[in-house]
Amino acid sequence: MPKNFIENWFKRKSWKLHDHQIKMIQSGALGLSTLLIAPTGGGKTLAGFLPSIIELNADPKNSLHTIYISPLKALTVDVARNLLEPLSEMDLKITVETRTGDTPQSKRQRQRKSPPNILLTTPESLALLISYPDSATIFQELKCIVIDELHALAPTKRGDLLSLALARLNTWAPKARRVGLSATIPNPAEMAEYLSCAQTRNPVQIIEAKPTKKPSVEILIGNSRLPWSGHMGIYAINEIYSAILNHETSLIFVNTRAQAELIFQALWKVNDKNLAVALHHGSLSVEQRRIVENAMVKGALRAVVATSSLDLGIDWAAVDLVIQIGAPKGVSRLLQRIGRSNHRLDEPSKAILVPANRFEVLECQAAFRSVLDENLDGDILRQGGLDVLAQHIQGVACSGPFDKEVLFKEIRNASAYKDLSVEDFNSVISFVCDGGYALKTYDRYRRIKLGDNDLYRIVDSSTARRYRMNVGTIVESTTLKVKMRRGRFLGEVEEYFAQGLVPGDTFIFAGRLLTFEGIRETTIEVSPGRGETPKVPSYIGGRLPLSSNLAEGVRDLIQNPSNCQNLAAPVKEWLERQEQLSTLPKSDELLVEIFQRRKLFYMVAYSFEGRNAHQTLGMLLTRRMERSGTQPLGFVATDYAIAIWSLKPPSNIEDLFDEDMLGDDLENWMAESTVLKRTFRDVAVIAGLIDRRLPGHKKTGKQVTFSSDLIYDVLRKYDPNHILLRATRADAARGFTDIHRLGALLKRIKTNINVKYLTKVSPLAIPILLEIGRENVKGSAIEALLDDAEEALISEGMAL
């Protein structure tokens, strides 16, 4: 085998080729597409490149041989560095370059004329690269496509975009192999299908590298009183600090940015030894994040408090402990986080889970078991979004005239679009041409039109310009910069948070207490804050719902707490009391408790389907109760249960939970929901109806602006089946509403509802009742508040 130079290099490094690396070389020699599943740090990325290095060594070329796609810009830079070093040590003349949004225009143009042998890029930059008239020639000699972190990309809209790009590359370079690199996943076959060409169905080989040791996981419960509710985990700060003291370098994962800020503050309050502890999350400025990452590489830090901003990325060999504060929410994500410690396959990773409340103790226990049993939860692969398809077709048109039938065949080759119907395809084409409305009044205006030889082509260059400005599927919410008065830039916060601030308000951001001074254009001005009670930033996102898999684990645990020997004493007592006073929820039934408290009737259902599905359930149940005269006043949803309170006692519980609520009730609620409007905006941006607002840039006079909410309202009224509304509903169904899980629950519990009428609140209901009041009020409650506000002002004599 012509790979001696590689073996020699490994020998010089006194390393050994891993089994999976050898297998990758073999499958590369056979020209097979391959899915490599290996934990972080197993030399996975290098394994992906080895076959290409061997081929390029045997047969040097001037053309593009391998394209590498990563979800992170930063990762492409890091991989380039890690690739150039061995290449120069092996004395190979193989060219490697990155191409991302950060690459200068001149370099990008040069790359199109003379591409490197190996190009490292992102899905968005690849989409751009294939949208030029000369794109086909760049990829003619392409032999290999490597996709890193495939498990993170495939189930997203970025995965849809990538899937379409792969189908296009297949037309230009049908022989190119595809290589997917993935963390451990429960559904390798499904992931392999994503990699394959949907119509030709060329086989994809699966190579799995198993870690030899299982991770060592502990659950840590602080010595102070275990909280009933809340998600911050501050109560265990002293124990967390001791754990940091006892290890070289700790990576501390939390679930939200607000939690990251709080834990970071709390750690510094107890940091007697002045350990170097840093903070890392997505709202901090890029420069600040890079400083932390580099310090970590150098081994200058003892601990970093991070959100999912560090879930993926650069390997830090020095990390010997991962601490997860708060419930892990999913087993796969937890494993990915645990895998960030100890990047050697032959040693176990070490992790500590710190539950923040009683339910989270159960969730951590369930996760602990699942990690040992390798019972993973996987994302279900998506049917490609029609908005993403619209964007892709604009890109295709920019690269040259196209035939509709030929394009349809090519798109059905993309695994995410293998079931695309002709009707949907035609609707998307018609949307791209002139908006695709039922009312045809835009005949004279066209972005793309049918011309000579029955080919579609773009009408003028403005379409290409606009497409290139708007490419991509990540739509950021509007953010404002946070800047010290006459000082430095600290990061960004969402606009809505800034709007809630009044000058003089204090909040914690970037690890320090700040005073809000005012907003100037797109910048929030702050000064160092004083005092003790900050208003913590509450950012959108970051809070993932509990996975179905883990939910099942919690249900199992709760119906039989005696099976679990090492359950913390307060939790044990709590569950025993529940069994005496009410009952423990069984996994094949739905426990519903009803009790009266201070003149209100409470109904608590322990459905364990995650916050999103519960939120939807709450909206639908309150609508029904409204109709039946129960007069519901509000509800609160957690990952484990839902509580509704009303003026009259709820009745006919079985009818209330009937599956048919997913019909008209759902349709009506979704139509009115403000969240759906936000989803519509994202869909409209991705599909190219609305221009992207570049973050941090001010609106210019030239930029056309209009409110997507107004468009949504009008479209719903006059064209309810328009393609963008269909795409919006599809997103809502699989996204924030979690309809699938809700539907499965209602089907499962159909005749198995166990209703308990109690005289007072049950032990299990305490945590969720404590959540009441933390949630924002919505809908009719806003109206009531508006009336109150008006009346209060009138009575104070403030009104005129």
């Binding site: 002139d434 009044t441 835009y442 709007q499 009044v502 009224k717 064209d719 403030m798 009104a799």
Partner: protein, 222 residues
């Protein structure tokens, strides 16, 4: 509906965003921006083509409710001066039916400086019916009894940890500025200098929502 007085004249701020002058049986709309959608289509941005239809439907609804004898459209009735090239026959028929049925005034705005000469009604730069003056954009200085539009005012108020924002009328004792009525028209916060500099410091808004509510300036946030 919300009743208020301007220059001793009783006026009604309607939930739709239209203004009614009961004594003169007059309904006033502002900033209809008809054919805004098709204007964007001409720039290759294909907004839904239903805004003219929707706006006119709502205009008809308000007129059927108040049954006025006179209607004033306060300018920017059309999104640009070339709307005739794009508007559909059905919508023209709808507008002609309105201008034939009521005494109709088109006040010119900056978006439609030529008004609508071919659609019936009377075209004017501004219209004086003492004690009120109707013009598109508020004029500094001379203000008593001025009714205008142009700025698309909206207001935001803070409620505990939430806030609520919607279109609004904004008024001091000398003038009132109407919200935009068009289906695709956005808004500008009344706390913005562009609007507030026209008003005395004790101005108030009539905020639209599920009903019209009055708030003083001090209850508003930017």
């Amino acid at each position: 509906m919300f009743e208020f007085y301007l220059s001793n004249t009783r006026l009604i701020a309607d939930i739709s965003g239209a203004l009614f002058w009961p004594e003169k049986q007059t309904v006033i709309f502002s900033d209809l921006h008809l054919e805004k959608g098709s204007w964007f289509a001409k720039q290759n941005i294909f907004l839904p083509p239903y805004d003219t239809l929707d706006t006119l439907n709502r205009v008809e609804k308000v007129i059927n409710y108040f049954k006025p004898s006179r209607v004033i459209s306060l300018g920017d009735s059309f999104h640009d001066d070339t709307w005739m090239e794009r508007i559909s026959k059905d919508q023209i028929a709808k507008i002609l039916n309105l201008t034939n049925s009521y005494e109709w005034f088109w006040i010119h705005g900056n978006h439609d400086p030529s008004g609508a000469p071919s659609l019936g009604g009377i075209n004017l730069n501004h219209y004086l019916d003492p004690p009120l003056t109707f013009r598109h954009e508020a004029k500094r200085g001379l203000a008593d009894g001025e009714v205008s539009g142009h700025f698309h005012p909206k207001a935001k108020i803070k409620l505990n940890r939430n806030s609520f924002a919607d279109r609004c009328f904004v008024s001091d004792e000398k003038r009132v500025i109407l919200p935009a009525f068009g289906s695709f028209t956005g808004g500008l916060n009344v706390m913005d200098k562009a609007i507030s500099s026209f008003l005395q410091d004790d101005f108030k808004v009539f905020l639209l929502g599920s009903k019209v509510r009055q708030f003083p300036k001090m209850a508003l946030i930017p």
